[in-house]
């Protein structure tokens, strides 16, 4: 029998509330299927399954909050006899104490939907109180702030950050982008943020010590390059879901993926793999006007690249002064994994890649 467990969707997630099952006993599932919707402290997330089989039983019911790692469902795998689920028996009438019934009326809870824990399955006043608490409206902003606080506190407590900054000339990239966008319909235009994202992803190929995870006292480089993109939510807070295999994608595809990711992050329909798999974070606060960003690494990742505002600035080269568009790029990296020398080479690689936008 295969156990389908609640996955961790980030360092800031300890538990999740099952909102909805997308499958029922008897359904076949394959890798990548969305099988459930789970509410985390940051968002409702479509949870994918990474095994194949037939759903045998659902062990957690919608509305229940369970810790990460809890078995949510059982599946039969290939070669295992599938058990056809028996029709559910008609529910027997359960005893309900008068006090519990009164309390349910006061709290506006449907007593028929409450699982009783008293003698013979009777519904007690405590059961009603628990059900009312579980159905109370979620203060999403407060939860998100708590989740960010927990993850960032852990980061600052555990990760010895070092920070580097680099001013990157963007005249070539900006001219290339202008020419490129002049040829494209508005819905297919590219943003400089996509060039920056691709440059970071390509640099990760050469610098595996920036792209991976610190786990159980050791660094494990990731063979995949899935940059997490920090996306601010209009209601407050932020989320940094992954764009998968960014180094392998052409800019047009990357732009479409980024547009889709931002839309889904803000409408609350991200997938579990997008939240659990970022291998490095890229944050861009240039639109907000800041010169540079020195970010806090999202554990268990080991690096974060930040970009500030693109603006025309004085630029000295070969003894002459000119005005060029530039951007301040920064690296926050984990000193347990890399040193400033490697970090400087990583940033220099990003700078070099952005001088050849046609190769991105």
């Amino acid at each position: 029998m295969i156990e389908f467990k609640l996955p961790s969707l980030g360092a800031d997630m300890d538990e999740g509330r099952l909102v909805e099952w997308k499958v029922k006993p008897g359904d076949p599932v394959k890798r990548g299927d969305v099988v459930a919707v789970v509410d985390t402290s940051k968002a409702a997330v479509d949870v994918e399954i990474w095994q194949e089989g037939i759903v045998q039983s659902l062990l957690v019911q919608p509305g229940e909050t369970v810790p990460v790692g809890t078995v949510l469902a059982l599946l039969s795998g290939e070669g295992e006899a599938a058990v056809v689920p028996a029709p559910a028996p008609s529910p027997a009438r359960r005893p309900v104490s008068p006090l519990a019934r009164k309390r349910a009326r006061e709290l506006g809870v449907d007593i028929e939907r409450i699982e009783g824990t008293g003698p013979s399955g009777s519904v007690t006043e405590q059961d009603v109180a628990r059900a009312a608490e579980a159905s109370a409206p979620v203060d999403r902003q407060a939860q998100m702030r708590q989740a960010i606080a927990a993850a960032m506190s852990r980061s600052k407590r555990e990760i010895p950050h070092y920070y580097l900054g680099e001013t990157i000339p963007l005249a070539t990239a900006a001219a290339w982008l202008t020419a490129c966008n002049a040829e494209r319909p508005v819905a297919e235009r590219l943003l400089m943020a996509v060039l920056q994202l691709k440059a970071v992803a390509l640099a990760c190929r050469e610098f595996p010590d920036m792209n991976g995870f610190w786990r159980d006292g050791a660094y494990v480089a990731s063979s995949a390059i899935h940059p997490g993109v920090a996306i601010s939510l209009r209601s407050g807070g932020l989320i940094a879901p992954a764009i998968h295999d960014a180094a392998d994608k052409p800019l047009g595809t990357l732009m479409r993926d980024l547009t889709d990711l931002v839309r889904r992050a803000r409408s609350g329909s991200l997938r579990s793999s997008e939240l659990s798999e970022p291998t490095i974070t890229v944050t861009n606060l240039g639109d907000q006007g800041v010169e540079s960003v020195f970010g806090v690494i999202y554990p268990p990742q080991v690096a974060l690249v930040g970009f500030g505002r693109i603006a025309e600035r004085p630029w000295a080269e070969n003894g002459s002064l000119s005005i060029r568009p530039t951007v301040s790029a920064s690296l926050s990296a984990d000193h347990r994994v890399s040193d400033g020398h490697r970090g400087a080479l990583f940033l220099a690689d990003i700078r070099e890649l952005l001088q050849h936008p046609e190769r991105l």
Binding site: T178, N181, A182, P185, V186, A187, R189, L191, M192, A193, S232, R234, S235, L258, T259, V262, R263, D287, Q288
Partner: protein, 82 residues
């Protein structure tokens, strides 16, 4: 299309990006992107929505003409009348 119809269409497009926005909150002569907190991606999505709704293609070279709410309405009015 008259100015009121354009205004309604622009507001509808803007609300697809910033659903919490109320027209009364917009200062018509102030930079729109700062007021509504539109980043580059939001701005591009706003232009895509305008294109889909009004059929107007706005080149990047004209972005500078679209700084305020009033400027956007005037630009679209001229473009649609052309």
């Amino acid at each position: 299309m008259d100015r009121d119809q354009i205004r309604t269409a622009v507001l509808a497009c803007l609300k697809t990006i910033a659903p919490e926005l109320e027209e009364a909150e917009i200062r018509a002569d102030r930079p729109l992107r700062d007021q509504v907190d539109l980043d580059s991606m939001d701005w591009l999505n706003f232009l895509v929505a305008l294109h889909q709704r009004l059929g107007v293609d706005i080149p990047e070279s004209d972005y500078g003409k679209l700084s305020t709410w009033d400027a956007i309405l005037a630009y679209l009015e001229a473009k649609l009348a052309a």
